[in-house]
Symmetry: C2
Subunit: 129 residues, 2 copies
């Protein structure tokens, strides 16, 4: 999907660079949310971690990717909006839960977005205990 990445980056008004195409291409093809560090390793450390962080930040700013503080030790990034996550308390696997709710106004707050994180024990870890 590097073609698609290319197009999205251009549409966002950002320069097309090898790093950006690789990062976004990887996120588009990945179901689960991933950390900057994971992307760095996945791309064989070909781009500096700083470059990964900076590009993820500009993608997030443009609304191309989404960012969540699923736990405190890492931020997670993903390319598809409106889905949520369930995290295994034991092995830290992150799986996705689809969501079609759109909220607009809550408690007099406007422009409301929501983040829903479930935590539990995945089937494998449930079995172990």
């Amino acid at each position: 999907m590097e073609n698609e990445a290319n197009k999205i980056i251009k549409q966002a008004g950002l320069k097309i660079t090898p790093g950006r195409v690789a990062i976004l291409g990887y996120l588009i093809n990945t179901e689960n949310p991933v950390s900057a560090e994971a992307i760095f390793k996945q791309l064989d450390r070909k781009f500096d971690l700083v470059t990964i962080y900076r590009n993820l930040a500009s993608f997030a700013e443009k609304g191309i990717v989404f960012q969540e503080a699923i736990d405190r030790s890492d931020r997670y990034y993903y390319a598809k909006a409106e889905h949520h996550h369930i995290v295994c308390r034991s092995c830290h696997t992150v799986a996705c839960v689809p969501c079609t709710h759109v909220l607009k106004k809550v408690n007099n707050f406007t422009k409301v977005t929501h983040q829903f994180i479930l935590r539990g024990l995945c089937a494998k870890c449930s079995a172990k205990q």
Copy 2:
């Protein structure tokens, strides 16, 4: 509510110390979730920040208080279970949203807990923009 704090600490099988009573007493009386740093300042730096962190960790382990990674720059602690948070994207005010849902099993995960964070612009910040 230092009396109540006392009782809860004892019931949890923890030693009653001035720091613990002060921290838990403060959390019990506080509606919004707060950070360790905020508690530290609120208690006039009378106890070391390390002490605050360690006690919050043992309270959380005992299930006396709850911990959330609302954003990445701070963890937040609060004393009342089963309610959720709405955060102002502009001034970072955190308000509470009641919740009565209890989930037990989702996607083959067991022992599921949930965290629901809404982000938006509070009435004040909505007006400003």
